[in-house]
């Protein structure tokens, strides 16, 4: 009740209604894969909400502190303030452990959702012009998410994360010439330095989140400005977006997803233990624990360090140590490749056109093959980081497993990449609609070189099939021409929202959207097909409205007349 006047008052002062109206009318495609990025967004919001709570109790300092609390094996022990406050947070603060575990699970889900979203963008070609900028921003956010995950994991100053921090420091130190200087600059001294935890803390809670918030806003702003891409389909062209409006349809859906994300993360936080730092104990340089792994999203680096042979050599008197290649070079190359991919692909395919319609993954077998191969490579690295756990569970010697992974990491990506390439080609050339329908003949055909297409047919035209009950209706509207797609079987009628200047142009745009559908010229726009009940209701409603208006008018006039007559009769008030 108060919202109406409040909104009006705000609108009077800020003129919000034009912007709001446009924003609420933004169209979101209905396909589920467009919501993967939103999982990441809502995980990020969950991270901020839980993270704020944690800062109330976490003491980012490496100064000595005596822990006194309900965890008996540490009660009275002197540890760093960071570690003591984390144990206190977990054992003595109300809801502290729930929030801390939810924060950690949210971090895992955040990066996982980013990877899923990135894969969707990659395999459907959504990074092509005009969306390269958003691709670059997205890759930057992935890098920042990894960095922030790592600092957050390291801040409690427990034994396990301290080992990880030592490894990362060593990787930085392995950079020839500048490594030791860089490490000393970042830590403010030798490795377990006093400034390390405060610096990680301020990076973790202020710098990187602020940049992330800015980049998320930019990411979404560009998305609104450029409009969504969409999968090809009936009624979908390079010039429109088919889907649900932001208000009310999509708002409910996205809020439902937000609720899902919060529910799942808090359920995990309450039901599954994560990072029990009280078991690991405080970090001490002379101690270690086993099995020791980092969180999954940096485990590929750990896996590479485990698999890479101990090769080192000297260039001009400077030692290039073994961790340099799996640690620095691999990580650097991975992100450079991600950053450059849209431009490399454009250079290779010479495709400079803007694309609003997405590729189905099968339409680009080479891209699919490279993507699947790269994903396999990183998955093998992550699994290799758990070689000691696997060796224990399988009861096999760990070095045999290491040798196996050294082979797998080189062979398996090629195998899966080629397989994905062939399957995509088979799907594209054959009749099969899905993976389950592929026959051996389809696969055999895929291994042969591509059949030559007749010249002058650049666009991949959808094979023309007989489509009963479908037609394009075109009609002149003043100087302009309009057309619409009509499907009798599905009771569907979609009018092209853009008028064109000539009949020829109408034919071309209609053919682009619906290749192979018959076109007819009609005198004018037919009335929209309406159901009998709805028509009757509408007619009945209109009649009722007109009738009530008539009655109201008659009554009003009568009352008016009576009042005037009464007024004439009555004497004027004294």
């Amino acid at each position: 009740m108060i919202m109406g006047p409040l909104a009006r008052a705000l609108d009077d002062r800020l003129r919000l209604s034009p912007i709001t109206r446009r924003a609420l009318a933004k169209i979101f495609p209905d396909h589920w894969s467009f919501m993967l990025g939103e999982i990441a967004l809502y995980s990020f919001i969950a991270l901020i909400l839980t993270g704020v709570y944690l800062t109330f109790f976490f003491d980012a300092s490496s100064a000595d502190r005596v822990y006194q609390g309900s965890y008996a094996p540490l009660d009275g022990a002197t540890t760093s303030a960071a570690y003591a406050s984390t144990v206190r947070l977990s054992w003595d603060v109300r809801a502290g452990l729930l929030i801390r575990q939810t924060h950690h699970w949210a971090a895992l889900a955040f990066v996982a959702a980013i990877v899923l979203h990135l894969s969707r963008i990659f395999f459907t070609g959504a990074f092509r012009k005009p969306r390269e900028l958003n691709w670059l921003i997205g890759v930057t956010m992935l890098a920042l998410a990894l960095a922030n995950g790592f600092t957050g994991y390291s801040m409690p100053d427990d034994l396990l994360s301290g080992l990880g921090l030592r490894i990362i420091t060593s990787v930085v130190e392995s950079i020839p010439l500048v490594g030791t200087w860089l490490a000393a600059l970042a830590l403010g001294g030798e490795f377990p330095s006093d400034e390390m935890i405060p610096r990680m803390f301020i990076t973790h809670v202020l710098l990187v989140p602020a940049i992330l918030v800015a980049l998320v806003s930019l990411h979404l702003g560009i998305l609104v400005r450029q409009k969504h891409s969409q999968f090809p389909g009936p009624g979908r062209t390079e010039h429109n977006v088919v889907g649900s409006r932001f208000w009310p349809g999509y708002t409910l859906r996205t809020l439902a997803l937000f609720a899902w994300v919060l529910a799942v993360l808090f359920a995990l936080g309450g039901l599954v233990q994560i990072n029990p730092v009280w078991l690991y104990g405080p970090f001490a340089p002379a101690e270690s624990s086993s099995p020791a792994q980092p969180d999954w999203y940096v485990a590929w680096g750990d896996g590479a360090l485990r698999l890479f042979p101990p090769w080192e050599f000297r260039i001009g008197g400077y030692l290039v140590p073994a961790p340099f290649f799996p640690g620095v070079v691999l990580g650097g190359l991975s992100f450079v490749a991600l950053y450059l991919w849209p431009f490399v692909e454009r250079w290779c395919t010479r495709d400079r056109h803007p694309h609003q319609l997405l590729d189905r993954p099968r339409n680009h077998p080479v891209r699919l093959g490279i993507g699947v191969g790269a994903l396999t490579f990183y998955v093998v690295l992550v699994v290799a980081a758990g070689d000691d756990i696997l060796a224990r569970l399988l009861r096999v010697p760990v070095y045999d497993l290491l040798a196996l992974f050294r082979v797998l990491v080189l062979v398996l990506p090629i195998v899966t990449g080629v397989l994905a390439f062939l399957i995509a080609r088979a799907l594209r050339r054959g009749e099969a609609v899905s993976l389950g329908e592929l026959t051996r003949a389809d696969l055999r055909r895929a291994t042969r070189p591509a059949p030559r297409r007749p010249a002058g047919e650049d666009e991949p035209e959808v094979p023309v099939r007989h489509r009963p009950g479908e037609r394009i209706e075109m009609w002149p509207q003043g100087e302009l021409w309009r057309w619409r797609y009509r499907n009798e079987a599905r009771q569907l009628a979609l009018t092209n929202n853009r008028a064109v200047t000539s009949e020829q142009e109408a034919v071309e745009t209609a053919r682009l959207a619906y290749p192979g559908v018959d076109r007819v010229v009609v005198p004018g726009p037919p009335p929209p097909p309406a159901r009998a009940l709805r028509v009757a209701l509408r007619r009945w409603g209109r009649a009722t409205a007109a009738g009530s208006l008539l009655v109201a008018a008659l009554l009003g006039r009568r009352r008016e007349r009576r009042r005037r007559r009464d007024g004439d009769d009555e004497p004027p008030p004294a």
Binding site: W91, Y280, S290
Partner: protein, 259 residues
């Protein structure tokens, strides 16, 4: 005189019950253990007879009739009562087949039989560490000792980890206080021995108290510990949940919109 006990060995059930009973008795802690008689080489003759008999039936084929060892098993002279008690009470000995590393099983012998065997092996000579008497110790000191000496192989959570050449450092969740103390003093398998010059009896008590504490599920507050295997197991759970629940939710929400 033929003992019926030795004959019934292959049929497991009554023995298994006895064995479980003895494990429970050991698990009940040092209080239950304290009245148990310390076996000595010069024990009464029936016990010595029993020990000799069991040794010749169950152990001599590999370790030799005089404990001198053979190609199939090491010498037992000088291993000490603690080692014999550890190997027998954790069910690692006797082995039913030759394996590189014996693993923990339900013990084959009853507590009485074990002490008789300990007595017999000790009578073969050579000294060696005695079975430690454990008492409740200080948990804070125990945690620090565990982190410095045990966690590199057994894991900070006591979940065990892999060693070289297919050996593993076993999980500690089933070990009684006495067994932990025996392992510390003896150093079975690849484990180093920690004699009293390295860890005093009091420190061993602290350590065993902390290891007993590691077995408690109160340490797993916060939910299912996923085997205390660390971040990669957590990552696996994270991915499965994100994929199964959240992507499932997204598919559900997205598909509904299309209808």
């Amino acid at each position: 005189m033929r003992r019926p006990r030795a004959v019934t060995l292959p049929t497991p059930h009554p023995r298994r019950a006895l064995a479980v009973g003895s494990v429970l008795a050991l698990a009940a802690g040092p209080v239950a253990l304290a009245p148990a008689p310390t076996p000595t080489p010069t024990a009464s003759t029936p016990a010595a007879d029993q020990g000799t008999q069991l040794y010749l039936e169950q152990c001599a084929s590999c370790h030799g009739p005089q404990g001198q060892g053979s190609q199939r098993g090491p010498s037992l002279i000088g291993v000490g009562p603690a080692s014999v008690d550890f190997q027998l009470s954790t069910g690692r000995m006797p082995l039913s087949e030759e394996v590189p590393q014996a693993t923990r099983r339900a013990p084959v012998f009853s507590a009485d039989d074990i002490s008789a065997l300990v007595g017999h092996v000790s009578s073969l000579g050579g000294g060696g560490p005695q079975i430690p008497r454990v008492a409740p110790g200080d948990m804070v000191s125990g945690r620090a000792l565990f982190a410095a000496n045990c966690a590199p192989c057994h894991g900070a959570g006591g979940s065990g980890a892999v060693l070289t050449n297919g050996w593993i450092a076993p999980p500690l969740y089933e070990s009684t206080a006495t067994q932990v103390a025996e392992a510390v003093r003896v150093g079975p398998g690849l484990m180093p021995a920690f004699p009293s010059q390295v860890l005093t009896d009091r420190q061993v008590n602290d350590l065993t108290s902390y290891v007993q504490r590691l077995r408690s599920e109160r340490l797993d507050r916060g939910g299912n510990p996923i085997g205390r295997l660390g971040p990669l197991a957590e990552g696996l759970v994270g991915w499965v949940v994100v994929l199964a629940l959240l992507v499932g939710a997204v598919r559900w929400l997205g598909r509904r919109a299309g209808e």
